[in-house]
């Protein structure tokens, strides 16, 4: 499973450019699903037929945050804007990977005062990307305006701590893949959506939900973790304590019946879990709840350190327990 996570997390897949990720998902799922399709906004939807006549859905978004080239100056330096909620700080001196080249991101400033000011009010407005081009034309050849980039970051393992860019939400994709691999003759028909364009506003999920209209849907995504020095105080989530059953974030309140069922199943099977109330953020569950005539939806999260940085860090135990809990749910939950 670690190798699957590595492959997925290292893949290039900013919002709207999820094709590589979907290719990996399909390779992994070969012989483990009964069918798949791509819908009109690029969502990959796979399924495994059950006998009960009921549909249950799992969702993990396939996109990641990124940068997009908006301008190129006459000396070949790029200007970029964000794709999703990208903090500027991790990008100082960091590399950004475009499909055809890799760039270095840094901060402009003509005086040391300028520099100080730009560093303390850091934004992509005062940052540029150097791809080793010397002219507009040269840059436009390899990174034309409208090219999307992602953190240039490799997967790393410290014991059972796994670190990479894009754990948000490739770890969710890996969880869903593992559930499908381990699910033999499911009770309910299981649909899984590897949804596009989550990071810029839950775009793909609205369409996927409308299309499938399952009895219940669970989004699997990352959440914040408060187990680092001087971490955010009001959050309970930590690594190694199990998957987090979300009650609420800023975009959705989880369906209470699903939450209660998840707790019941975890207790019954002795799967460690933790409860989550996130004071920020949102997941595709919000989109599922509000599409078509509404889908009962909840989120199960993998607690993650350093979300939206090149070093999003998760723990293997949480991932494994998340898989166990979801298998219980898709079999017995609806």
């Amino acid at each position: 499973m670690i190798e699957t996570i590595r492959k997925l997390a290292e893949a290039y897949g900013p919002s709207g450019r999820e094709e590589d990720v979907h290719r990996i998902v399909l390779e992994e799922l070969k012989n483990h699903i009964d069918g798949y399709k791509f819908d009109r906004v690029g969502n990959l939807i796979v399924w495994k037929d059950g006998k009960s006549g009921k549909k249950v859905m799992l969702d993990a978004h396939s996109d990641e945050i990124g940068l997009v080239v908006t301008n190129i100056d006459k000396n070949g330096f790029l200007r970029v804007e964000t794709v999703g909620g990208v903090p500027p700080h991790p990008y100082v001196g960091q590399r950004v990977k475009f499909p055809q080249c890799t760039g270095i991101v840094y901060v402009e400033g003509e005086t040391s005062q300028d520099m100080k000011k730009n560093f303390s009010n850091l934004s992509f407005d005062v940052m540029y990307v150097d791809i080793g081009a010397s002219s507009y034309e040269e840059a436009q050849k390899v990174a034309p305006i409208g090219t999307f980039g992602v953190y240039d970051s490799r997967f790393m393992q410290n014991g059972d701590f796994l670190t990479s860019k894009a754990m948000d939400d490739r770890v969710g994709c890996a969880v869903v893949i593992e559930v499908l691999k381990r699910l033999n003759s499911p009770n309910n028909t299981v649909y899984c959506s590897f949804s596009t364009q989550e990071e810029i506003g839950l775009m793909g999920a609205r369409v996927a939900g409308y299309d499938i209209m399952p009895e219940a849907c669970i989004a699997i995504d990352v959440t914040a973790s408060s187990d680092t020095p001087k971490a955010f105080k009001r959050h309970a989530m930590v690594l190694k304590k199990g998957p987090a059953i979300k009650v609420k974030d800023r975009a959705s309140i989880s369906d209470r019946k699903i939450v209660d069922k998840l707790i019941e199943l975890a207790e019954e099977s002795g799967i460690p879990y933790q409860m989550e109330v996130l004071t920020m953020g949102g997941t595709n569950a919000a989109a599922f709840q509000a599409t078509a005539s509404g889908i009962a939806s909840a989120t199960v999260s993998i607690p993650t350190r350093y979300v939206h940085t090149p070093s999003e860090t998760v723990h293997l135990d949480d991932i494994k327990n998340c898989v166990n809990l979801l298998i219980e749910y898709v079999q017995k939950g609806v």
């Binding site: 919002s15 804007e81 964000t82 810029i200």
Partner: protein, 339 residues
């Protein structure tokens, strides 16, 4: 080209009926069907010869403006912005209330201001509209709370450039009306949607995808230029005169790369100038069309417009005509969008 008539009509979000009536009167004999849906969107259909696929073009009829929120004891009107209006462009402007009463948005004359007041951003709660009355009673006979308020800018053309209000998005509406005048019948159905309430959150377009069920959509916009002299070139969104702007991403939606590529290659093939829109702020109805129903792959093509969301903006008429020309070629080669 209907820019003069269209931009001089008042049509703040939620009060688009005059724009809609004008458009409907001009197009109704040139299309096969028109209807107004429950939210007020005007939808026209030019049927295809084979009646299979559906191509949607969309532009919004509404413009930014204001709404009367209270009639004060001294006869002045309190008001609140509808859509994104920078309060700095508001004072000292002539406005029209409910399409009948003329007013002036008043502010303290420079003679009476202290030095530190002059460059302060005015707050909407400190601004009033004067309509030449001295009492609540007198004003109440002329206007109502909830009346819409628009700028009264006349349309002008000079040196190949046009100035006026509401190019966002009457430019798009005019492009669609020109197309209705020009185009023949295609194999596929062509739907034209003139939408309401875009400026207050893409509301009209929220009910379009399910209603029409198109295979592809192109949203036509008047978009921000941002090529002001004080802004370095590498921060411009578009530059007027460089051709129609093609959007690859904006708030809430990364445009389908297939749609972007098709648009750009059709422009190249036909020698029509175009530019990439080079900022990602702001959204359009494309985000709604892509995210409702089963998802409509949607592109955005815009006429670059300086100083939008203000009483007066400027477009290059070549950009306008090239937008019409580009969309016409897109329809001519429309089949590539269905592949």
């Amino acid at each position: 080209m209907y820019l003069k008539e269209l931009t001089e009509i008042g049509g703040v979000s939620g009060d688009e009926s005059r724009v809609r009536d004008f458009i409907a009167s001009k197009i109704k004999d040139k299309v096969d069907e028109t209807h107004v849906d429950k939210l007020g969107n005007l939808i026209a259909l030019k049927k295809g010869k084979k009646n299979g696929k559906r191509f949607l073009l969309a532009a919004h009829m509404d413009e930014i403006g204001f709404m009367v929120t209270n009639i004060e004891d001294d006869g002045t009107l309190s008001f609140s912005p509808i859509g994104g209006v920078d309060p700095r462009v508001v004072p000292g402007k002539r406005v029209k209330i409910a399409d009948k009463v003329t007013g002036v948005i008043g502010y303290k004359a420079i003679h009476l201001q202290k030095k530190e007041e002059i460059f302060k951003v005015p707050a909407f709660e400190n601004l009033r509209i004067y309509i030449g009355t001295d009492s609540k009673e007198a004003s109440s006979k002329l206007v109502n709370i909830g009346d819409s308020v628009v700028f009264t800018t006349e349309y002008r053309e000079e040196n190949g450039r046009a100035t006026g209000k509401a190019f966002d998005d009457r430019a798009g509406c005019s492009v669609m009306m020109d197309l209705i005048d020009n185009i023949d019948r295609y194999d596929f159905d062509v739907y034209f949607a003139f939408l309401v309430q875009e400026e207050v959150g893409l509301r009209g377009s929220a009910v379009i995808a399910e209603q029409i069920q198109p295979d592809v959509a192109i949203v036509l916009e008047g978009t921000t230029a941002g090529d002001n002299p004080e802004v370095p070139e590498y921060k411009w969104a578009t530059h007027i005169g460089d051709g129609p702007a093609v959007t690859f991403m904006h708030r809430g939606y990364v445009v389908s790369s297939k749609v972007v590529q098709n648009i750009m290659s059709i422009a190249q093939k036909n020698g029509i100038p175009y530019q990439a829109k080079r900022r990602t702020a702001g959204g359009t109805d494309a985000a709604r069309l892509a995210g409702t129903w089963r998802g409509v792959p949607s592109g955005v093509i815009s006429v670059p417009s300086r100083y939008i969301h203000s009483p007066v903006s400027m477009i290059d008429l070549n950009d306008y005509h090239n937008t019409v020309g580009l969309v016409e070629k897109i329809l001519d080669e429309g089949e590539v969008f269905f592949k």
